[in-house]
């Protein structure tokens, strides 16, 4: 076997691609032909020369260890592409993942070593002299924070007024007024520096055209928005954890707090959601010793993949720094102490009744929570009329799949994996239904991603 006994799978490599064209272009370069002088080191770096259309081949280096700086893989390529990672980096990783002997272990050539050394130096410096998180001028920072809180309060007050006006006149009119009203209100919330509120307001605008049952959904979301407004206005009276949740839901940036959690973390799932400006990547991790589930978030500006990428199904020792908040799922990846390696471990599953109970519990701490991560033991994907559910044969109960999940290709991968037999499924359980994200068939060695 090779370095740390592990190579990524093609799926894992392709998950790094910033968009579909890059994925395709990368796959085509993922073969021995165009590559020369390719190699990899025991420390998890891969390099190679890729023949392009020009006379000089491109020099491509990838550092997959993340070198402990929590940024995930790093790439360097002499090609002019603005995509990140570029198709050459993807192709090189695919060749490396393909294990056909094109990428032997060895010493990096000078051009690769130069970059790697500089990178190692930066990381060491960063680690030995951690930048102090306290700002230079605490008083000025305090003043800025107060100023921002005032602006948010003004925005919240205005939003409350708008909600009251809406309900006084009736939501029936919302069907006609359409997006305009909400877009304008959302813009006001952006001005008030409350991006969390702005996003919720924008979603309100889409509900009246979302099909049957919209009046119920609109009232629910208006009510929860109102609850958040009131939470902000009364944040001084709330328990500290709930207040922290309200702050982050409104959109105030938070910093990880508390001691880092060191554990053997299993990567359960990784998926992206994107709007026109931002790609958000969610990575679910399971601490095999602490039995905790954590969520890592990473962002990429339009056209760029979020920098953090972790191979689903593998596990590694690492420190995670949790964020404040009542449910405490979000965390930042700290130092990685080992490289990701396959593991026979899988998260212990619960029955479906326990899954809904856990979501209920979590709502008590964070009423705005859409869903909660949970692993189901022994469920069978089952067609129920025109939708799908996960049936627990032991309890004779089932969780319906969320509408968005039932239309994704991952559904069929799940059904195929099951073949009508029970299997373990990790996913998000919420009021819209269950969204499966990874599955472990009975005799499989590792997790199989569904997203």
């Amino acid at each position: 076997m090779t370095q740390q006994g592990v190579r990524w799978t093609a799926d894992q490599v392709l998950a790094l691609a910033p968009d579909a064209p890059s994925r395709k272009a990368g796959s085509k370069l993922g073969v021995a032909g165009p590559w020369s002088e390719a190699g990899s080191s025991g420390e998890g770096t891969v390099w190679g020369l890729c023949k392009g259309s020009g006379s000089k081949p491109y020099q491509t280096v990838v550092d997959i260890t993340g070198a402990g700086d929590a940024a995930g893989p790093a790439y360097k390529c002499s090609c002019p592409s603005r995509k990140f990672p570029c198709k050459h980096a993807l192709g090189l990783l695919l060749v490396w993942a393909g294990q056909d002997g094109t990428v032997p272990e060895g010493e990096p050539p000078a051009w690769a070593e130069e970059w790697l050394a500089a990178r190692r130096k930066r990381t060491t410096e960063k680690r030995s002299s951690p930048t102090p998180s306290t700002p230079a001028d605490p008083e000025a920072a305090q003043r800025r924070a107060e100023k921002r809180a005032e602006r948010i309060t003004a925005g919240v007050t205005e939003l409350e007024q708008r909600l009251s006006d809406l309900l006084r006149g009736g939501t029936a009119t919302a069907e006609q007024t359409g997006y305009g009203l909400w877009e304008e209100t959302a813009a006001r919330m952006v001005d008030a520096q409350a991006p969390g509120l702005a996003a919720r307001v924008r979603e309100l605008g889409a509900i009246p055209s979302s099909g049957p049952g919209w009046p119920v959904r609109l009232l629910e979301e208006c009510a929860l928005l109102h609850l958040l407004d009131q939470g902000w206005l009364h944040r001084e009276e709330l328990p500290a954890e709930l207040a922290a949740t309200v702050r982050s839901r409104v959109g105030l940036p938070a910093q990880p707090q508390g001691p880092p959690l060191r554990d053997h973390w299993l990567v359960l799932a990784q998926y992206d959601t994107a709007d026109s400006k931002l790609t958000t990547r969610r990575i679910w991790m399971y601490g095999t010793e602490s039995d905790r589930t954590a969520l890592l978030l990473s962002y990429g500006a339009a056209g760029r993949a979020p920098s953090l990428a972790l191979p689903v199904g593998l596990a590694f020792d690492a420190e995670l720094s949790p964020y404040p908040g009542a449910v405490q799922l979000r965390a930042d990846l700290g130092e990685q102490l080992t490289a990701p390696a396959p593991t026979p471990l899988r998260p212990p599953g619960v029955r479906v009744s326990e899954a809904t109970a856990r979501y209920g519990e979590a709502l008590r701490k964070d009423p705005w929570l859409e869903s909660h991560p949970v692993t189901l033991a022994e469920v069978i994907p089952t067609r129920s009329q025109d939708t799908w559910q996960l049936t627990d044969p032991e309890e004779n109960l089932a969780l319906p799949l969320a509408p968005s999940a039932a239309s994704r290709p991952g559904l069929w991968r799940l059904v195929a994996l099951s073949g009508g037999a029970p299997l373990t499924v990790f996913g998000e359980c919420g009021h819209r239904g269950f969204t499966p994200l990874a599955a472990w068939p009975k005799d499989a060695e590792g997790a199989i991603p569904l997203c």
């Binding site: 994925r23 073969v31 056909d100 009736g170 029936a172 208006c222 609850l227 290709p409 991968r413 195929a416």
Partner: protein, 542 residues
Amino acid sequence: MPAEARTPALTPWEELVTTALLGTDRRALATPGKEAPRTLLDEAAAHTVRRRAGLRPAPAAAPPEPATDDPRPPVPPAARRRLATLLTDQPGSGGSGRRGAAPDLMELLPQWLSLANARGYGAPPELLPALLNAARGRTDLRPQALTFAGPRALWLARLNPDWKFALRSTPGGGISLPDPDDTAQVRQLWEEGLFAERVALLTTLREHDAQAARALLSATWRTERAEDRLMFLDTLRTGLSETDEPFLEEALTDRSRNVRATAAELLSALPASALAARMAARAASCVAVDHVASTPTLTVEAPHECDAAMERDGVLPKPPAGRGERSWWLGQLVDSAPLTSWQSRLGNRTPTEIVALPVADDWRGELHAAWCRAAVRQRDAAWSRALLGTPASPDAAGPGAVSLAERAKLLASLPPRERADWVAGFIAAHGLSEAFQLLGVCATPWAEPLGRAVVDSLNIARDAGSYPWSFSGVMGLAERCLDPAEAVRLEALTAIPDEPENASPGAGSYWSEAFQRLVTTLRLRAAITTELTPDKPQRNGS
């Protein structure tokens, strides 16, 4: 938390929704409050959180019948990853006309599948949806893809209408056929089964025990519908032998004309059959050697009528538009007559000597074409060789007596090595432009001389300064059929050559790109073979 929200909500949820729709100005809330909209929102918030927190699982629907077990071993991990990569390369997602230097991964899928099937591997379940989608878009992939996909794919296809084709393409819709030796079971399925099941049964049985299959068929023959009889008769092509003759002879009197024609065709492929003898006698009366001429010459006297006996033996009386009746009848007589009968008829000459004889009155084309059809149907290597002639002969490439399509068919009756050598000779003499069809019938991977002839010709075409896309068909074939071991020799051709004066602009770099793609594809094919061959330990880059 605001004080109002802590008090239990009094108004029922439905009531709140109605009020919210109409507006508090129009419809008063039951709960008194100084500010109605605010009270409504407070109560709705309490309701919403309570409703969500109180979520319960739904009653379970009946789960599907589990899929039947696939006893085959799973593909090795490296091969599994390769398949995942091949399947991600969906056609139509790129869309630029030029192919560039990267290999066409989808084109390698058939090779991957046939190797995996030959090694008896089973499909990884999580890749079944992608595999079924690929097979859905490409009918040519279906047989191999469905064999590899196994029973679970059929189980999936019953759940997803997009994959219905899998149930149609699998004989009997994936039902399990009885053991061919279990006579009682076989008879029961034959008598009670659906049409598709019966065809599948007969096909399987015919491969296993040709006579038993025919016995089964003749037992119910008279009661079958005409279109069913035609399909059943078709299964006799497998393992056709003299013992089938009485049955086929009887089918010559069938009510259905298509059945009669098929029976006649099958009989004519049996040179010792009575039908073949009758056809030989008829054909022989039409062709003779004229010894009076200065050199021996073949004379042809086409039949003057198509009598009832000829019709009964499968001769179609009506020619297609544009063909004369008499030459149409002659063609059918000659292509159904056993080729062996000509040697004694035409003065104990060898096939080569017969083919070389001049033919009087412009009958040569007609006569040779019929012999070609006969040689193909009777798989006669000696006659095929004679009709093909030498690959270097000038009319081998031109519109001579024997067309390229016919040559391709004739080649198929030669042993693989001879076939490859003949095509190599043809390419060396005539270049690549006419060789495409002939290459298609050669065994893969191409034998060394053939591979070399193709590569040399490509090289010559490049030096001549033309563009590579004039040869894209042959290039594509080479990617699929060249022996991967050739990759090393081809490496030198990937360099961009100096452009000769009269070359098409930029051709050099396009050729370099095309050869690069060829080399890359060959390497990939070598990797695919290694990954699917478990005895060879995987090289792991150490």
